[in-house]
Structures are given as structure tokens and as C-alpha cells.
Amino acid sequence: MKAVFLRRTSALLLRQFYLLRVSPARIVPLFAWVAIDIVLWGFITRYLNSVAASRFNFVPAMLGAVLLWDFMARVMQGITTAFLEDVWSRNFLNLFASPMSVTEYLGGLVLSSISTSLVGLVVMVVLATVVFGLSFFVYGAMLAAFLLVLFLFGISLGIFGSALVLRFGPAAEWFIWPIPAFISPLACVFYPLATLPHWMQWLARLIPASYVFEGMRGVLAHHAMAAAPLALGSVLAALYLLLMARAFTGVYRHAVRTGLIARYSAETVS
């Protein structure tokens, strides 16, 4: 059973590899925008370090935050881009008439996302460390936990975006791209959660990424952090992943019931 799952998910990964290796239009976005972000924020943090009266080091606090946030966005886009390849090539009928299950399809999207988001992560890490002197040692072992929570949350957002497009048709693609920007105020990427008004703090506590950035600032300020909040963030991220996978499956079943899978370009069968 595991072999079958791996074979089918690897088919989608292979498809993504075939598309990437001959397409600059697909390769460049894997690293270009995140590289520009790191360069921009690298210079901003350098400037802030030079003018700030305190000895506070903005590089790990802000550049590190940008890197982690961009990693999460790349994971999300890795899922949605792989999904949109099937929208753009009108491939749903061929795919879903095959023995592949929805779980295997989502597994293939996750594998594709891991491979593409790693490219972005490596480029960001190299730039941030070599050019701007960001040291990941300051985060200690917590870095792995930060990446795990953001990875799970990015996957959840990607599946959510894909479900939106599957439900509302190809034009709903425009719902996907602003998702990270929409939740970034609540993720508290650059400021402590306490900065938000009280009612927004409650909303922010529902966003797993907020625990990561609070934790990151805690590590930088006190060289330690409470494990419990990050554990809560991990549980939330895992919960969202399960919920979004169920939501995608529900939307898929609706599409099979109404005939939308077979007539997807029509956007609606009503």
C-alpha cells in the first residue's frame, strides 16, 4: 500500500520536475522574489543597526523573520502552483479518472512543494548568512521546530487555496496569491503579539505562525523560550492541515457529485 502511495505521489513530483527543468518561467520565481526580499530587508536591517541607539541587533530579529515568513509562503505556493498546473493544462479528467485517490493527489502536491520550497530556502539562507551575516546558531535547536510549524501551516494554506480554486473555478486563482499578505498582520512577523489590540490578539493566537515569531523573539531576547506555546502552535498547524485536507476532499466530492470535475472549465454546472 505504501509502495502504491509513493509511486502515485512520485508521478506528480516527476511531472513537476519535467516542467521545471525546461522552463525558466517556473524556475526563476522559486528563488527570485525571496532573494529580492532578503536583499531588501538585509539592507533595511543594516541601516536600522547603524541608526538605532540601543545595541539591539535587527538582523536576526527582522531578516530572520522575513526568511521564515518567505519560507512559509513558498511552501504554500509550492502546493498551489503544482495544483494550478493541472488547472492550466485541463488535466483533471485524466488525473481523477485514474486510480489515484485524493489523498495520493494531495501527497503529490506536498512532495512537489517540499522540492520547490527547498530551493527558495537554500537561496535565502545562503544570501542571509553570506551577505548579511545572519547566524542561525542564535535560534538554536528551536529553528527546526520553527520550520516544522511554518511548513505545516504553509501546506495547510496551500491546500486551502487549492480547494478554493477547485470549488470556484480557474478565475479563483486570484484568491490564492494574497493569502500570506492577508494573514501577515496576525502572524506578528515583525512585532510582538502584545502590539495588537486585544481583540486582534485573540485572532493572532489562532495563527500558528504567530507562535513561531513570538518564540523567535523570545529566543533572541532571553536565549530561551517556553516550549508550551510553540507546542500549541504545532498542534494548531497539524489541526489546520487535517481540516484543510478534509475541506479539499469535501470540495472534490462536491465536484464529482455535480459533474464539475468533468466540466471544470465551465466553472459551474448550474
Partner: protein, 255 residues
Amino acid sequence: MTDTATNPILSVSQLRKLYGETVAVDGVSFALGTHEILGLLGPNGAGKTTTINMILGVLEPTSGTIVIDGCDLAKRRRQALERTNFAAVYAPLPGNLTVAQNLRVFGLLYGVKRLNERIEAILDEYDLVRFRDTKCGVLSSGEQTRVALAKAMLNQPRLLLLDEPTASLDPATAREIRATIREFSANNDVGVLWTSHNMIEVSEVCHRVLFLSRGRILLEGDPRSLPAEHEHETLEDLFVTVAREPLTIRRTEEE
């Protein structure tokens, strides 16, 4: 010889599909035996593609059952679809992948054993060797149809669904494809469900036909004898009557 009664590859029972209050398919039942090519005929909107989509598992029936090679599609979807494949003019393979890449991806999805060998054999069989590294999107429609057929044969399905498989082909290629499908059906324990608007082709290829009209099976029989049984000269004449005056045919049946 076909074997419909004792060993059906496909068994469809009381299949029904409603879209709101619109009835697309209304209590369709039929079986498809080994070595049999069954023609599913009818005017546009008769319910042919809806029926095929339900058999492919991409459209859920409102009621009824579909059993493929002993596997109930609703309960054992994976096993049923591993034994099935299809080609349709409205489902081309992704145009941004080459022929060989598409066959490899779908070969993995269908769990084809010794995939490299199978791809080479199928490229050769469908005269696609020279297009191996050509993107499907730049092939002519006829070549794309051959690729879709190659993908449909990749897993050596027990049930093959072909929705107007020769619609984009020139007469010479269409004849070759018909011969290939006939040979495939005769030499393997398979069943083929074929839709076409080309009645000469249907008479040549199909052992049996079902005429669908308004979601119901109106007529069933041998395409070579059916026209005479209903006082028509050709299958095409009968088709036109079914399309324009289905109630006349129903009265004929009742008589």
C-alpha cells in the same frame, strides 16, 4: 465470440443522474462482455458522455451501480479504475509535457509494470517513436488522438472507454486505429465501450449498439441488422430517426 451474459467486464444497473430536476441519465442498464465492442450511440445531449463519466468515476450517479471486472466502482474505486482506461477528444494529455513524459507520468499513476518496456512498445504500436520528445501541445489533433489512445492502452485495461476516438483522424489513420482496437479486443479478455457519430465506423467496429435518447436506452442490437428490424435502410437513417422522433421508435418497439 463475445461473452456478455456469464463474464461481463462492465455491468451497469439502473444508472440514473439528475442535475436538479433535469434527468440526464434515466435508469440505464447494460452489460459489456469480454471481446465485445459495444457502441453507445445517440444525439448530442442524449447522455452518452454523462454515462461514460460515471463509469470513469468522475461523476457520481444519483442512483444505480457500476461494476467493472467484478469491482463495484462505488466501493472499490481504485481496483475498478486500475482495470479501466479511456481516450476522449475533450481530454487531451497536458500539452506542456512530451509524449514520453506523459506516458511515464500516467504509467506511474496506473501502476504499469516494467514501465520502460511498455512505453517503448506502445510508442512503436501507435507510430509515435519520432514524437517521443515532442511536446503534446504542438502535435496535430490526429497525433494527439494517437497519444491519448497510447495512454489509454498503457495499463492494458480490461475495460476501455473510447469517446469518439477517431473524430480528429484522417481516414487512413482512422482505419488503422479501428483495426488496432478490433485486434486488441479480439486478442485480449477485454471489453470496449465506443461512442461515435460515424455510423459506418460503428457498423464496421461494434458487435452491438445501444441507442440512447433523452437519457434512456431506446434500442439495442446488432448494428448490421438493427436498421432493417426498424424499417430503415442504414444505421445513419435509424440514428436520424432516433434523434428527431424518438417517440416513433418507442411506438415501434411497443408494437
